[in-house]
């Protein structure tokens, strides 16, 4: 896990290369209706059940901007520490396709709603800043279904017109690991903001990946290839590995890289050419005359700024400074807003450090096992805090705590009640413990003598006997102390 030095280079036959990656992430805006129509945006609805006359481009239909989507884009921009442009323009990107009813996609070309920003990544070798080039709003297309009928293609327009944010990074990423961290960070930020649910299975987050390579030490960027529409982090990483190795091989053979668009074949784990630069579409972008330029008042931006939640970077700082967590713990606990909320609720009622340890250990392992999220955890934050408190106070030992935890998972019950009804409370009364220990020492006089004559390893034997006798409930620390005292005497 911990590599403390960046070392993602590709050794070719002749030279050593570094990989340059830029991402165009398409994130579906969380909004009740589409970018330019009132149609619903729910995932998984019956085909063509969420389609208005505007989405299906009937004659005379006109787009009207959905303010909610504008606000979401601004909020995302603010979350990316980016400049919000007071003036931006919607353009038409013209091309023919069966699932593009208008024959053009309304997008933003020269004047996007959000300008330059940045995202901070926590890599094992330190933190790294990734530049954001821009963020713009655009319509999604519908879906063509080619495998329902041998001769016809079916079209589902439910997705047609849904708002997407295209977030374009600078070519600042250098490895598949950084891509992984970047996508996860973007996703975390947008989920905190509530601007995109980041659900990759439902296609809410997809990316075009731009890859080029250059000899280590070179300043000039190499020719890039764009890998279109990759919909999981794992596939992005595989595609980058394949593509960068392909380019290195070509360069070392003295060949030239052609700028082109490529597809990633997930079954064969390879990229292949889709179209070259010469065949690139001429999208004939021009400002959409049905829409006026988008003017955003500074006041709206300021007002939205005030409504932003605490974002992961700040929260992480606070967890380190106020809760005494280390950077790794803080990172894990802020990675999802739900997790950080859960943690804060637990930490408020119990020991902050111990809460972190137990959450990241047993709780996460259990959730992972059962395929659950923190939001549907069988253990409530309040009960979990109770458990941590019982451990901290010495009421139960760590070993017993694990048993209590198991019962909590099954029953969802309050740990106090479990401890009480099952009699799992730790034996922490020194007098009671002394009584038990004295009994054991009397019973094992020979071993006591051996211990005293220098066989100190036997200490563990005595502890084991105490635990056995107490049914595992003896307070281990106290047991140690008393044992030591009595063995000396």
């Amino acid at each position: 896990m911990s590599k403390d030095k960046f070392d993602y280079y590709i050794e070719g036959e002749k030279n050593k290369y570094e990989v340059i990656i830029g991402l165009e992430v398409h994130a579906q805006v969380s909004s009740n209706s589409k970018l330019f129509s009132g149609s619903a945006t729910k995932f998984g609805a019956e085909p063509n059940s969420q389609v208005s006359l505007i989405d299906s481009a009937f004659p005379g239909m006109l787009p009207v901007i959905n303010k909610e989507c504008i606000n979401q884009a601004i909020r995302t921009g603010l979350g990316l520490n980016a400049k919000i442009n007071n003036n931006s323009v919607f353009d038409r990107k013209n091309y023919f396709y069966a699932d593009l009813p208008q024959g053009y996609q309304i997008s933003q070309y020269k004047n996007p709603i959000v300008g330059e920003g940045k995202v901070l990544l926590d890599m094992p070798y330190g933190s790294k800043e990734i530049g954001i080039e821009r963020l713009h709003l655009e319509q999604d297309a519908g879906k063509s279904i080619h495998d329902m009928d041998p001769t016809s293609t079916y079209v589902d327009l439910n997705r047609s017109g849904i708002a997407l944010m295209e977030i374009v990074s600078k070519p600042d990423l250098r490895s598949p690991d950084e891509v992984n961290a970047y996508i996860k960070k973007l996703r975390t930020i947008m989920r905190y903001l509530g601007t995109c649910d980041g659900n990759m299975q439902e296609g809410s987050l997809r990316a075009d990946v731009n890859v080029s390579v250059r000899k280590v030490g070179d300043k000039k960027l190499g020719t890039r290839c764009e890998i279109k529409n990759v919909n999981s982090i794992k596939f992005m990483q595989m595609a980058i590995e394949y593509e960068s190795n392909r380019q290195v091989e070509m360069l070392d053979e003295g060949k030239k890289i052609d700028q082109e668009t490529r597809l990633f074949d997930t079954k064969k784990n390879e990229t292949r050419s889709m179209r070259s630069k010469e065949d690139a579409h001429d999208y004939r972008y021009f400002p959409d005359p049905d829409l006026l330029p988008l003017k955003i008042e500074q006041k709206l931006i300021d007002d939205l700024k005030k409504t932003l939640p605490e974002l992961p970077d700040n929260k992480k700082e606070r967890f380190i400074n106020d809760y005494g967590l280390n950077s790794y713990e803080a990172n894990v606990l802020v990675s999802e807003k739900d997790i950080s909320d859960y943690y804060e609720e637990v930490a408020k009622l119990s020991d902050k450090k111990l809460a972190a340890t137990w959450m990241m250990g047993d709780l996460f392992a259990m959730l992972n096992d059962k395929g659950l999220n923190i939001s549907n955890s069988p253990i409530s934050a309040k009960n979990f805090a109770e458990l941590v408190r019982s451990i901290k106070s010495g009421e139960i030992s760590g070993r017993i705590a694990k048993e209590v935890f198991e019962i909590m998972v099954e029953s969802g019950e309050n740990p106090k009640k479990i401890i009480e009804t099952k009699g799992m409370k730790q034996q922490s009364d020194p007098k009671e413990l002394e009584k038990i220990i004295n009994e054991i020492l009397t019973k094992n006089k020979d071993k006591v003598d051996q211990y005293k004559s220098g066989k100190e390893k036997l200490f563990g034997f005595f502890v084991g006997q105490v635990m056995k006798q107490s049914g595992g409930k003896a307070n281990p620390q106290l047991t140690n102390e008393i044992l030591k005292k009595l063995l000396k005497g």
Binding site: F58, R92, N94, A98, P101, G103, V155, R284
Partner: protein, 485 residues
């Protein structure tokens, strides 16, 4: 009885209000005349059953306080009408029946009007003679074998022939004013954004504007009042209060400053048009207006600018007619691309294809800056010309067209000479201003000619007033002899 349909809309409204005629009787008079006037080919679709039914409903419970009480109206077939074929004059939409009503027609019905039929027009409103319609050319009732102008040619022809008491058209580069001029009727193109574009088959979005076509200026003010209004479904619609154009109509134009732009005196313009223009100046002068010479220096670039901007937008607006969702689909072709190619080759006519090609070309990478972007800059200069002069003058007077109605077929093989028809009307669309064409006289063939009054943004009332005063003092009489009956 049949004399009634010769009357102006405002007079017919009075007859209805005074209960001197019922809506159903009136409707039947029009139906009768339309049935006898098929030769003009001004209607694509008749909606007579609907009209009679609605007229009966009106007569049962007449609301005489509405603007258009029980008035049957035929409209340009570019306005989508719920449940009635809307073809845009194209094979592509020859069987298209919308399930929605355009905002403008909806506004008319709300004011008591009744849909009588859908009027012929150039295909997708692209043309200046109504000869590009898939449903055949329309004949101008002023004389056999003459065109009514375009693209609202069916509207102008039906209006002049008394096949509808008033009508509506759309004007992208002159498509209301030029046919009005050719048929001796009044046509107004409102300020861009005054009338909603929602539900109108789009040609060039930044230029398209619906407007009234009528037999008198007063009728025009009534129709505009019924049509205009903010529509939140159209993002380019202007948010403003409704105006009472008809109530505020007046003939007093004393002290108004009327600009005469020297650039509108074009080469080869018939002398009679120049004379007519002078006549107009003199009438307004006699009414107490100040006539002021002005200059609109970028006028000469208006036509080329228009023929870049309009086709560019059209090429994109018409991309939706691809055979996938509605409208015509070719039965030929083995894959999606071939289906597209065949559908669009067979579904669109030559003029539409020409403009799609031009528009696609001027937006292509490598040509965009030289054509589209430059045209947008020139468009700003043209608008600036007007803005600067509207500090000095209240309205501008020009001829509406550089010629009177021409013969059918005369210009069909010469697109440039056809495009030149729009030379006086196009600058107004590029600047988004309101303008009205009023009949001013006849040429030596006895064909009508119009003069154009251009106003400031949202100054419709003012140009209506000037036109009203002009009309009252011009003694123009449209001589239509019903030769086709």
């Amino acid at each position: 009885m049949s004399e009634i349909i010769k009357k102006d809309l405002s007079e017919i409204i009075e007859l209805i209000k005074k209960k001197e005629i019922k809506s159903e009787e009136l409707t039947n008079l029009y139906i009768d005349k339309v049935n006898k006037s098929k030769k003009l080919n001004s209607y694509i679709t008749t909606c007579f059953e609907n009209a009679i039914q609605k007229a009966k409903e009106f007569d049962r419970k007449p609301n005489i306080n509405s603007l258009l009480p029980g008035i049957p109206l035929a409209v340009k077939d570019l306005f989508c009408t719920d449940g009635f074929k809307t073809t845009a004059g194209s094979k592509m939409l020859k069987n298209f029946i919308p399930k929605y009503e355009s905002t403008i027609t909806e506004n008319l019905w709300k004011e008591g009007a009744i849909l009588l039929g859908k009027l012929n027009c150039d295909e997708y409103a692209m043309g200046s003679s109504n000869e590009t319609s898939y449903f055949g050319n329309v004949i101008n009732p002023i004389a056999e074998n003459t065109v009514p102008g375009g693209s609202s040619g069916g509207s102008a022809s039906a209006l002049a022939a008394n096949l509808t008491p008033a009508t509506i058209g759309t004007d992208t580069g002159g498509s209301i004013r030029q046919p009005a001029s050719f048929t001796g009727t009044v046509g107004l193109k409102p300020t861009y954004g005054l009338c909603s574009r929602w539900g109108i088959v789009a040609f060039a979005s930044s230029l398209d504007q619906a407007g009234p076509m009528t037999k008198s200026v007063k009728d025009c003010s009534i129709m505009l009042e019924a049509m205009a209004g903010f529509d939140k479904k159209d993002s380019t619609s202007i948010e403003k209060k409704k105006e009472n154009y008809s109530k505020n109509l007046k003939t007093d134009i004393k002290g108004l400053k009327i600009g005469i732009p020297k650039e509108y005196r074009v080469e080869n313009m018939p002398k009679e048009i120049d004379e007519l223009w002078n006549k107009g100046k003199n009438i307004l002068k006699d009414l107490g207006a100040d006539i002021i010479d002005i200059s609109l220096p970028h006028t000469k670039y208006a036509l080329p600018t228009y023929y870049i901007v309009a086709p560019a937008e059209a090429s994109s607006n018409l991309a939706r007619y691809d055979g996938v969702k509605y409208g015509y689909r070719s039965s030929k072709g083995n894959d999606l691309i071939e289906m597209y190619e065949n559908t669009r080759s067979e579904g669109f006519g030559d003029e539409v294809k020409r403009r799609i090609l031009i528009g696609t070309y001027v937006l292509s990478s490598g040509y965009y800056d030289a054509y589209y972007l430059k045209a947008q800059k020139v468009r700003q200069l043209i608008k600036k010309d007007f803005d600067e002069n509207f500090g000095k003058v209240d309205a501008i007077l020009t001829p509406s067209t550089p010629s009177s109605a021409f013969k059918i077929g005369e210009k069909t093989n010469d697109p440039i000479s056809m495009y030149l028809n729009d030379i006086f009307t196009v600058p107004v669309n590029l600047a988004g201003l309101p303008a009205i064409s009023v009949p001013a006289g006849l040429d030596k063939k006895g064909y009508p000619l119009g003069l154009q009054l251009i106003g400031k943004t949202l100054d419709e009332q003012n140009i209506l007033n000037v036109a009203y005063a002009f009309e009252k003092n011009c003694n123009f009489k449209n001589e239509i002899k019903n030769w086709w009956l």
